[in-house]
Structure formats: structure tokens, C-alpha cells
């Protein structure tokens, strides 16, 4: 079951939630819609499910235009951010609901409910009410309920946002395994890049109602198409600099740029893991802070006393040898990209994802 959305536009009053959004999801793929909160990701999902109507544009499921098909006939499984379990029904009744309204015979319904509760590891809790379940359990009931009527595709709206960190990771692995078993075309919304990369075959970056980039996690990590994507994915150092002959200068440091950047003012993005620092009394960097983070160390410093730089090194890295706050260090940038600037100026700063 493939999905194609074309030129989706949606306004809520004066606010443009979606502006000419288009992308494709191949049959059997698990795709993440990733972006900052309020960027329109959930609206895209809701339009695919038929819960919202776009102002213009089209949604195709398996090549068939479904704009006028009501939500209850799209055969789309939807998992809501806050589960939306039917609070007056038991777990079993929740899972059975879709089969019930689609008039599946009773014996078959029973069988399917048992099968799904087994699948999500909730066998034995059939008679519980949603209020008697933990967040992770509710989420799994919501998944079982969405899967029960054998939907043609599965949509998940921030599926792990409302559970705590440990449960989130378990659920995430579990969804990935489930997807490998069932191969149901799935789209999920998240603002957590780690989650998107851990789960998705491909990622659609959504920003302010527009699709910024579509690609595999590796493509997006290695070839971010814009400064926004480069900065959104992981922690990055961003410098306003002038590009000439494929290189840029930040203070006294010359940075070789990958690709073939146009000459002129640009913003240079250096990922926090794409640079090396090592103790060197004549180096241009003064180390200001070192933060141990378990298996990694976060190193902060200033290039020529004015341009901040952040890097992460493995705890046992030989680069850390002799490095300490207050000392000077040499710097080598291993990978950097430049994005042409429209306004030409802009202070240097460090951006967290």
C-alpha cells in the first residue's frame, strides 16, 4: 500500500499549517515525519487518515485518489498521541471495536482479539479498563486496536511522546520488530530525531508546513540539504563566514568544505562529531569546559576567543589526552558544509537540536 500526497495546503484562519506539501511512501515502508513541534506533521497525518480536509492538494492510497473517501472507509489504522482509548470499554472491547463495527463474525473477532493481545504482550489483561493500565500498556492497546481490522496502512501520531524514557525505548524496538514482521506501510510523526533515525526507513523533514528534505537517515545525516536540516539533526556549530575556493575561514581557522559551495557569504555548519581537538600550546582554541557524559565527553571552547565550538569525543579517545579547561588546543574540521546566506550576516552561535 503506497501513499502519495501532492500539493497539500491547509490553513487554520490566518495560520498556514501546510504549504504545498508533497512526498511518497512506498509499500511496506516505515517513514518518519520529523520536525519541530507545530510544523504541521500531525496535520499531514490527519489528512491522510481523512480526519482533516486539506484546502487543496490530493492524497492517493495505492494510486487511488481518496480525498472524498470518509475516514471510516479509508482502512487506515491511526494511533493517537494520547491513545484515545474508549474509556468505558475493556481492553478486549477496545481491540474488538473495529471488527465489531465492520461486522466481522463473533468467533473470528474473538480469535483476532486474542491474537493481537498476544502480539502486543497484553494477554491476560482483556477485562481491564484503560484507567487501570500504565502508559506503555495503553499505547500497546491503542496499537492492537488500530491493527485489529487489518488496515491498509498504519499512522502513528507522536506514538511514544506520552510514555517515559525507558518504556519509550522498549516500545520503539517493539514497533520496529513488529514492522519487520508485518511489513505494514507505516508513517509516524515525531519531533525526536533519534527516534526517527532508530525506526524509520526514510525520514521526511517537515518545517513550518513545508517538506524540507526526504531521505534515508544516512542521507539526511550526511547530506543535509539546508542549514535548517543540518542544524536540526544533532548538535552543530554554525558560523557566518565567507566562502572562497571551496573553503571558509572562521577566525584563523581555515575549513575545507565538502560539495562545491558557491563563493560568497554563507553559513558554515560543522557537526559536533565532525571535528578534532587536541592539546597544543599554539592552537587557536581555548578549552572552556569539559562535561563527562558517561561514554562520551562534551568539550566546549572558543576559537580565537570569539567563535564557540562544541565537540564530542569517546571517553577513552586519545584526543582527550592532556585536554583540560583553560588549555589551548589545535582544531581540525573533518567535514563541513556551507549554505549560502541571503542576508549575508548573522552572529556565530551553537545550536542544539
Amino acid at each position: 500500500m503506497g501513499i502519495r500526497v501532492e500539493h497539500l495546503t491547509k490553513r487554520f484562519g490566518a495560520f498556514t499549517a501546510l504549504d504545498d506539501v508533497g512526498f511518497e511512501v512506498n509499500a511496506g515502508e516505515l517513514v518518519a515525519l520529523l520536525g519541530p513541534s507545530g510544523g504541521g506533521k500531525s496535520t499531514i497525518l490527519r489528512i491522510i487518515a481523512g480526519l482533516d480536509q486539506p484546502d487543496s492538494g490530493a492524497v492517493y492510497l495505492d494510486g487511488e485518489r481518496v480525498d472524498s473517501v470518509p475516514a471510516n472507509q479509508r482502512e487506515v489504522g491511526f494511533v493517537f498521541q494520547h491513545y484515545a482509548l474508549f474509556r468505558h470499554m475493556t481492553v478486549a472491547q477496545n481491540v474488538e471495536f473495529g471488527l465489531h463495527v465492520q461486522k466481522v463474525p463473533k468467533a473470528e473477532r474473538r480469535e483476532r482479539v486474542a491474537e493481537l493481545l498476544q502480539l502486543v504482550g497484553l494477554a491476560g489483561l482483556e477485562q481491564r479498563r484503560p484507567a487501570q493500565l500504565s502508559g506503555g500498556q495503553r499505547q500497546r492497546v491503542a496499537l492492537a486496536r488500530a491493527l485489529a481490522p487489518r488496515p491498509r496502512l498504519l499512522l502513528l501520531d507522536e506514538p511514544f511522546a506520552a510514555v517515559d524514557a525507558k518504556v519509550r525505548e522498549e516500545l520503539r524496538d517493539w514497533v520496529r520488530r513488529l514492522h519487520e514482521q508485518v511489513h505494514l506501510t507505516s508513517v509516524f510523526v515525531t519531533h525526536d530525531q533519534e527516534e526517527a533515525f532508530a525506526l524509520a526507513d526514510r525520514v521526511v523533514i517537515v518545517r513550518e508546513g513545508c517538506v524540507e528534505q526526504v531521505g534515508t537517515p544516512l542521507e539526511i545525516m550526511d547530506r543535509p540539504c539546508s542549514e535548517f536540516v543540518a542544524r536540526f539533526i544533532g548538535e552543530a556549530n554554525v558560523y557566518a563566514a565567507s566562502v572562497a575556493a571551496g573553503a571558509a575561514r572562521v577566525g584563523s581557522v581555515s575549513i575545507a568544505l565538502s560539495g562545491a559551495p558557491a563563493a560568497g557569504p554563507a553559513r558554515v555548519v560543522v557537526r559536533s562529531y565532525d571535528l578534532k581537538l587536541w592539546a597544543d600550546a599554539d592552537g587557536p582554541v581555548r578549552i572552556s569546559r569539559m562535561v563527562p557524559l558517561g561514554d562520551r565527553v562534551r568539550v566546549e571552547g572558543l576559537i580565537d576567543g570569539e567563535h564557540p565550538v562544541v565537540a564530542y569525543f569517546p571517553r577513552r579517545s586519545s584526543l582527550l589526552h592532556g585536554l583540560e579547561p583553560g588549555c589551548r588546543a589545535a582544531i581540525e574540521v573533518t567535514l563541513a558544509r556551507a549554505y549560502p546566506c541571503s542576508n549575508g550576516t548573522g552572529a556565530t552561535h551553537v545550536e542544539r537540536s
Binding site: 481523512g50 482509548l85 471495536f97 463495527v101
Partner: protein
């Protein structure tokens, strides 16, 4: 309690320890408390307990048996039956239209929604007597609708339809409001989930929305019944309390007292009081604010 607060706010500990240590301060704080209790007690005794006790005492003097037996005559029974039918109709009509109205007001956005929303509360603030009068201007002899009603041979004022209209007016807000609160709290997630699972709009309403608002609906209907049963002013003005034709339980009591038929008046009053008590128990059990909020 002060001990648990103290570590975070040392200044509280100082106050908390100082207070019990000083007998003077304790005595000073006890006096206003006694005064407050006495004031509340006296007030309740005067406005609430004394009238009920007086009613009970008078009933005792008359004999409850005598009072209730006095009800077993055609006139009081007819008035009671009329009130019963009014309550039932108010329940059915408010049950259906109230839920629909709540859905329209909470789930839909349209021009004039806010105006409509505040109109729903008008019956709570307007005097029923004034409403009865206004109904007469519309439905009474020479009223606005006379050209329509007269040729059809329909009587509204000083007839049962008038009583019903008056009752519906005063009971309008309860179901709409109580169901509305629940709908608002509920949100639309569950309904949308039902839609994506293949349920039509109608099935979503019956299987999801209605069971979820059942508590609020029950509460609203209980309030409706209590109000419909107790209404006096509006039904008196619109209906005229004509014996055997437009008198209800409440207007019957009024007429009976006027005619010094004490037994039947107190019998009817006792019956209404008992019914109110039952409804009160129902209200307590259905009150959505007292129930534990389940679900997600």
C-alpha cells in the same frame, strides 16, 4: 502538617510552633470559630431545617395516613398525574434535544454560537412568572399566534400545551449544560479513533459519544425532573391553575391552602418533599464532579 512543611519553609515552622505554645492565641482563635459555627447553624436552622420540621410536625398532627389518604381523590390525583406527565415529557424532550443542543454548541463552530450559548442560560436568570406572562402574549387570546392557533382549534394558554411549554422553558439549560461540560472535557479523540476504525457517524454517536456522556445526561435529567416537578410561577400564569384542567401538584397545594383544605395540601407537600429527597440522592450519585474521572 506543619512539620512536613517546615523543612522547606523555616518561617512556617516558627509560626506553627509559636501558635500552640501561646494559650492566649489559641483562645482568641477559638472564639471566632464558635461564632462562625453558631451563625451558620442558626442560618441553616432558620431557612432550611425549621420549615421542614414544621411541615413534618403538621403532618404528624394531621396523621400521615390521613394526609396521604386525602390525596386519593380525583382532583389531587389528576393534578399529580398532570405533573407526572409534564415531568416525563420534559425528560424525553430535554433528553433528546438537550444532547443534540450540547453537541451543536460544543462540537461545532458557527456564526452566532456564542449568542446561542448564552441564550441557553436565560431560563436560569429570568423570573418564571415573567416568562408565563410573555407566553400569554404569544399564545394567549389576542396574542401573536392567535391567527394561527384559532383556526386550527388549538388552545395553548390555559391548557396543557401551555403548561408543557412553560415547563420546557424552565428546564431547558440542565441537560444542555451538563452534557456540554462532559463533551468539552471528553474532546474528540475517541470519536475520531472510532471513525478510523470504520464506524459511521451514527455508530460513533451511539457506541462512543452517548455512553461517555451518560453520566452528565443522567445528572442533567435529574435536575430537569426536580425543576419540572417544582415549577410554580410559570405554570400558574400560563395555565391559570384551573381545577381539574390545568392545575399541577404545586399549584394544587397553593389552591388547597387557600381553601383551607389542610390535609390534602400537606399530603401533597409531603409527597413532593419525598420525591425531592429521592432525586437528591440520585443527584449525589450522578454528580460528575464527585465521580472519579476514569479513562486516559
Amino acid at each position: 502538617m506543619p512539620e512536613t512543611l517546615a523543612p522547606a519553609r523555616p518561617e512556617l515552622r516558627a509560626v506553627a510552633q509559636a501558635a500552640p505554645a501561646s494559650p492566649l492565641r489559641r483562645r482568641r482563635s477559638a472564639a471566632p470559630r464558635l461564632l462562625l459555627f453558631a451563625a451558620v447553624g442558626a442560618y441553616l436552622a432558620l431557612v432550611l431545617i425549621a420549615p421542614l420540621a414544621a411541615l413534618a410536625q403538621r403532618l404528624g398532627e394531621l396523621g400521615i395516613g390521613t394526609a396521604l389518604a386525602a390525596l386519593l381523590h380525583p382532583e389531587p390525583l389528576a393534578a399529580l398525574a398532570r405533573s407526572g406527565v409534564l415531568v416525563l415529557l420534559a425528560l424525553v424532550i430535554n433528553g433528546v434535544l438537550g444532547v443534540l443542543g450540547a453537541i451543536v454548541l460544543v462540537r461545532h463552530r458557527f456564526r452566532g454560537r456564542e449568542l446561542l450559548d448564552s441564550l441557553v442560560d436565560v431560563p436560569l436568570s429570568v423570573s418564571p412568572v415573567m416568562v408565563g406572562l410573555a407566553y400569554l402574549l404569544v399564545f394567549g387570546r389576542g396574542g401573536w399566534l392567535t391567527p394561527v392557533l384559532e383556526p386550527l382549534g388549538l388552545r395553548v394558554a390555559f391548557a396543557f400545551p401551555g403548561l408543557l411549554l412553560a415547563t420546557l422553558f424552565v428546564t431547558l439549560p440542565f441537560v444542555v449544560r451538563e452534557v456540554g461540560y462532559v463533551l468539552e472535557e471528553l474532546g474528540t479523540d475517541e470519536e475520531q479513533a472510532a471513525r478510523t476504525l470504520g464506524a459511521s457517524r451514527a455508530r460513533t454517536f451511539w457506541l462512543i459519544t452517548l455512553p461517555n456522556v451518560a453520566g452528565g445526561l443522567g445528572y442533567g435529567l435529574t435536575l430537569t425532573a426536580a425543576r419540572a416537578l417544582g415549577e410554580f410561577g410559570a405554570v400558574l400564569v400560563v395555565g391559570g391553575a384551573i381545577m381539574g384542567s390545568t392545575d399541577t401538584a404545586t399549584t394544587f397545594i397553593y389552591a388547597a391552602i387557600e381553601e383551607r383544605q389542610n390535609a390534602v395540601a400537606y399530603g401533597m407537600a409531603a409527597l413532593l418533599a419525598a420525591t425531592s429527597m429521592l432525586l437528591l440522592v440520585g443527584l449525589e450519585r450522578l454528580n460528575p464532579h464527585r465521580r472519579e474521572s476514569g479513562g486516559n
